[in-house]
Structure formats: C-alpha cells, structure tokens
C-alpha cells in the first residue's frame, strides 16, 4: 500500500493530463522503457563496435535463435536440471528442516553446518564440487540441489519451530503422535515459510546452475550465453538472457500464486 505525503501528491495531480486513461503514471513507464531502449540503441551504434547487442538487433536475432535446435536443447537441458534440483533439494530440505525445527538436539547438531553453508556464497562451492563430481552435468545438479536445500531447510526449521502453542495443545489433547505433530501440525503451519525458501532457492539455483555451466563447460543456456558472446554473436547471447529472465520472472510470480493457493490465510 503506497502512501504519499500531500506535498508530493499535489503537484503531480496538477500536471496530470486531462484525458482519463492517459495519465502521467501510465505514460511514464512507456516513456522510460522506450527512452532506455533508444539510448541503448543509439549509444551502441554511435560509439561501440558492430557486434555489440542492440534492442533492434536482439529482436532480429530472436527468430533465427529460437528456430535452432540447439536453442531448444539448451533450454530443456538447463530448465530440466534446475527443476530436478529444486524438487530434490526441497524434499530433502523439508525433511531435515522439520526434524531441526521439532527436535532441539538435531537442530544443535546440524546447525553449525547448515548455518555456515547458508552464509557461504555457493558460487564458492562450485570449484570443489567440480573437482569431486567432474566436469559433468551432475555437478550442476549437485549445486542446484544444495542451493535449494539450504534455504528450504532453514526456513522450514524456523517455521516449524515457531508454531502457535495452542495448535500443539489441541493436538496433544486429541492424542497426536509425534508423526502427527510433525507432518499434521508443524508442516502445514510452516508452509508459507517453506514456499519462501523454495522461491529463494529457485533464484539461487538458476544463478548457480549458470555458474557451473560456465566454469565446468557443461552444455546449457548459461554456457550458450557466454559462448555466443565469445563468438561475437552478442544479439543471440542476449536472446538467451531474455529467455532466462522470462523463466525467472515466471517462476517468481508462480511461487507467489502457489503460496496464496497453499496458504490463503497468510498475507505478506
């Protein structure tokens, strides 16, 4: 909810165009976007070599790039690896997280590792994982799994630890066993936290998957962004970037919907 002070709102209202649908607020993003693209286009044409990407160049490159079989194989390889990693990482993260949230001793035992790894930028783990797993697609999967596992485990632990005491009392009254408390009370109460963890993990997973692809020369979208650029095919490289951005934005909005559907009582 946006609140503005009157001293800023008043002049804005005065300048507003009279036609109702064409307000300054609606026109501004269009002008800003077009202005940015125009500056980009002209700056590159005027001062930089031909191969540097421009907005028009990218639009022209879309049909040829998207028509190639290589593009679709890259997309399917990378996205599949990310989704697989997210599924495995979330499942493991939820299990470990619930155990950590519900049993103090497990939390104490595991938290030195989980917290340290959570603090560590996971890009720093890429070299050692490549060394152990090899210059192979499996390295990418391992990194994505870790990227998702950590935030999910941490948020699940926080969520299941902070359950309303009333829920536990009611559960106990109705004779809930440990298993019921864990998966019948704690887990549903922690759902919004878990989805937040998965969302965080998704974003990190995408970044780290690209990092592995580039550092370990594993085929995929991230690798192609860099190789296309090295081949001075900047426009095609940015088509890939565009595709990654669309994927990331889609995932983000899907996760928001998912959380609303899963936990409609939770507002944030």
């Amino acid at each position: 909810m946006a609140t503005y002070s009157s001293r800023i709102e008043a002049p804005a209202a005065r300048w507003a165009l009279s036609t109702r649908w064409l307000t300054r607020e609606r026109a501004a993003p269009v002008f800003a976007g077009l202005g940015f693209l125009a500056v980009w286009e002209f700056y590159v044409r005027a001062f930089l070599p031909d191969f540097v990407a421009t907005p028009l160049g990218i639009i022209q490159a879309i049909p040829t790039t998207v028509a190639s079989a290589e593009f679709w194989s890259d997309v399917s390889i990378t996205l599949r690896a990310i989704v697989e990693g997210v599924v495995i990482g979330s499942a493991a993260g939820v299990l470990v997280g619930v155990a950590m949230g519900r049993v103090r001793e497990i939390n104490w035992f595991l938290s030195p590792y989980i917290r340290t790894l959570y603090a560590l930028p996971l890009v720093a783990l890429v070299p050692i994982v490549i060394l152990w797993v090899g210059y192979q697609p499996a390295a990418r999967l391992v990194i994505v799994v870790i990227s998702v596992f950590l935030p999910v485990a941490v948020t699940t632990a926080d969520g299941t630890r902070a359950i309303n005491k009333d829920y536990l009392d009611v559960g106990k009254m109705f004779g809930a066993r440990t298993r019921d408390v864990w998966f019948g009370i704690a887990l549903p109460a922690a759902l919004p936290f878990i989805v937040t963890g998965i969302e965080l993990g998704f974003a990190r997973g995408i970044t780290n998957a690209i990092a592995v692809e580039v550092l370990a020369s594993v085929t995929g979208m991230g690798m192609s962004v860099f190789t296309k650029s090295n081949e001075l095919n900047e426009n095609a490289s940015l088509v890939y970037v565009l595709c990654l951005a669309v994927f990331a934005v889609t995932v983000r909005s899907l996760m928001v919907r998912f959380r609303q559907w899963l936990a409609p009582w939770y507002h944030r």
């Binding site: 909810m1 946006a2 609140t3 503005y4 002070s5 009157s6 001293r7 800023i8 709102e9 804005a12 300054r24 607020e25 501004a28 993003p29 002008f31 800003a32 976007g33 940015f36 590159v44 930089l48 540097v52 990407a53 103090r104 001793e105 104490w108 035992f109 030195p112 590792y113 917290r115 340290t116 790894l117 603090a119 560590l120 930028p121 890009v123 720093a124 890429v126 070299p127 050692i128 060394l131 152990w132 974003a203 995408i206 970044t207 690209i210 990092a211 550092l215 991230g222 962004v225 860099f226 296309k228 650029s229 900047e234 490289s237 940015l238 970037v241 990654l244 951005a245 990331a248 934005v249």
Partner: protein, 269 residues
C-alpha cells in the same frame, strides 16, 4: 509410600530441560568432532581428490603465511568495500526516491523488478563487452547482484510510513528538512538496516561472481587456480577460508542490525 513410577518420556523430558546447556554444548562438539573425524578418515582412504582435514588445515596455514591468499583477499576486499558502499548509498537513495516521488516509481518500478529477477550472472558477457573487464565492470556486476535488498527494503519502509505521522508533522508546520529528520529517517532506518544486513552477505556473492566471470581476480582467482591443477587441498583450504569470512560478515550484519534497530519492535511490531 509408593511413588508412581515416572514414565520414561517424562524423565527424558526433564533430563532434556535440566541439562539443556550441556546437551547443546555436547551437540556442537559431537557434530564438529564427527565432521573432522569423518573428513580425516575419508581423506586418508581417498587421498588425491579429498585430502584429510589436517592436511587441509596445514595447507590453509601455509597459504596464509606465504601464499597468494592474503594478497588475493586484499584485492577482493577493495571490490567488496566499494560494492557495499554503493549498495548502501545508492540503494537508500533510489529506494527513498521510489517511495516518495510518484512519477519516478511509476516510470521505473517495474523495470527494477525485472532487473532484480534476471539472473545477473547471465548479463556478465554483455557488461564485459560494453564496459570491459576492469574494476568498474566488476563493481557494476557485484552491485547488480547485491543492491536490491537495500533498495526494496528502504522503499517498502518509506511507503509504510503511517499517514498520521506525516499529517501530524504537517500540522505542526514542519519544514521538509524537519519532516525527513524527525519522521522519515527514524521510521525507515530499521527497514533499510535489514536490507543492509542482507546486502553485507550478498555483496560477498557479488564480489565472487564478478571475480569468477570477469577475468578471474582476487580470492576467486586463487580458488580457480587450485581447480585447474586439480589440487583438492588447495581448493578446500580456500573454500574454508571464504566460508570463515562469510560467517564473520553475516555475524557483523546481525550485530549492526541489532544495534541500530533497538526500537524496531515498537515501530514495526
């Protein structure tokens, strides 16, 4: 008198409560001992790809004494410092502008979210083509990765200032400067601080990504050097070194936030 026999569960619960501190301490010690023990045993049997714990620590000590680690750290620290400073200054400024200037937010807000969602790492080749591989491009990449918590946190904070606060200030005839000093800055600080706390950790990610992918430099270059010669002791030692620094940075972030946000529970609830 025959006392009822206490059930195992309640005795266990009592034991866990009474000895909580010792159990906690024991858990930490046990977990670290297990890690080092397993690492040592594993390392002794696998050798080349996974050197034992003691060897790794020896290598780390050696690299700190006369290796490339500290010079590399110095290079990284410079990038990190500049990145964090820009994040704090520009992040707060842009965040406030987005919250307080309607037209500015109408024009740019959605683009900021798009840039935020785009994996910055994929923009590295483009940035390098336009701005080169030097310090400036590294800073740009690192900032693009780590500025958003500050920016969005400040924006949300400034937007959630209750209308009454602004109205009261207006009724008492406060000037714009007074409004900022007495209402906006105190209200927004906790939000900005929690963004800065995240940015303290994220700037490290940004620094490493920039160093990995724009002609390796700093600590990241030292790390990659070990991978190219398949020296697991080297790579493990540097990874542990980076992990230790990250833990310290995250700790500093938490301290800073706790110190500056003492009134947050009353302000935000």
């Amino acid at each position: 008198m025959a006392a009822r026999k206490e059930s195992f569960e309640s005795r266990l619960a009592r034991f866990r409560t009474v000895n909580a501190w010792w159990i906690r301490f024991g858990c930490y010690v046990l977990s670290l001992l297990l890690l080092f023990g397993a690492w040592q045993a594993f390392g002794n049997s696998f050798g080349v790809l996974f050197v034992p714990f003691t060897t790794t620590m020896g290598r780390l000590w050696d690299m700190l004494q006369n290796g490339p680690l500290l010079p590399g750290l110095l290079v990284s620290a410079k990038l990190y410092g500049v990145t964090l400073a820009i994040n704090i200054i520009a992040g707060v400024a842009i965040g406030l502008a987005l919250a307080r200037i309607k037209l500015f937010s109408a024009a740019f807000e959605r683009y900021i979210y798009i840039i935020y969602a785009t994996p910055t790492i994929s923009l590295v080749p483009f940035v390098s083509v336009i701005f080169g591989f030097e310090f400036g491009s590294r800073v740009l990449v690192a900032v693009l990765i780590s500025i958003f918590p500050v920016l969005l946190g400040t924006m949300e904070g400034a937007r959630s200032i209750p209308r009454q606060h602004l109205d009261v200030a207006a009724i008492f005839g406060s000037t714009e400067a007074q409004l900022w000093r007495d209402v906006i800055v105190p209200y927004v600080t906790p939000f900005a601080m929690s963004g800065i706390k995240q940015s303290i950790a994220l700037s490290m990610v940004g620094t490493l990504v920039a160093e990995f992918f724009l002609n390796p430099d700093g600590v990241a270059a030292v790390l990659l050097q070990g991978t190219t010669v398949v020296d697991s002791g080297w790579v493990l030692a540097v990874t542990i070194f980076i992990a230790a620094i990250s833990v310290v940075l995250v700790g500093i972030g938490e301290l800073v936030e706790r110190y500056l946000v003492r009134w947050r529970h009353t302000a935000v609830g």
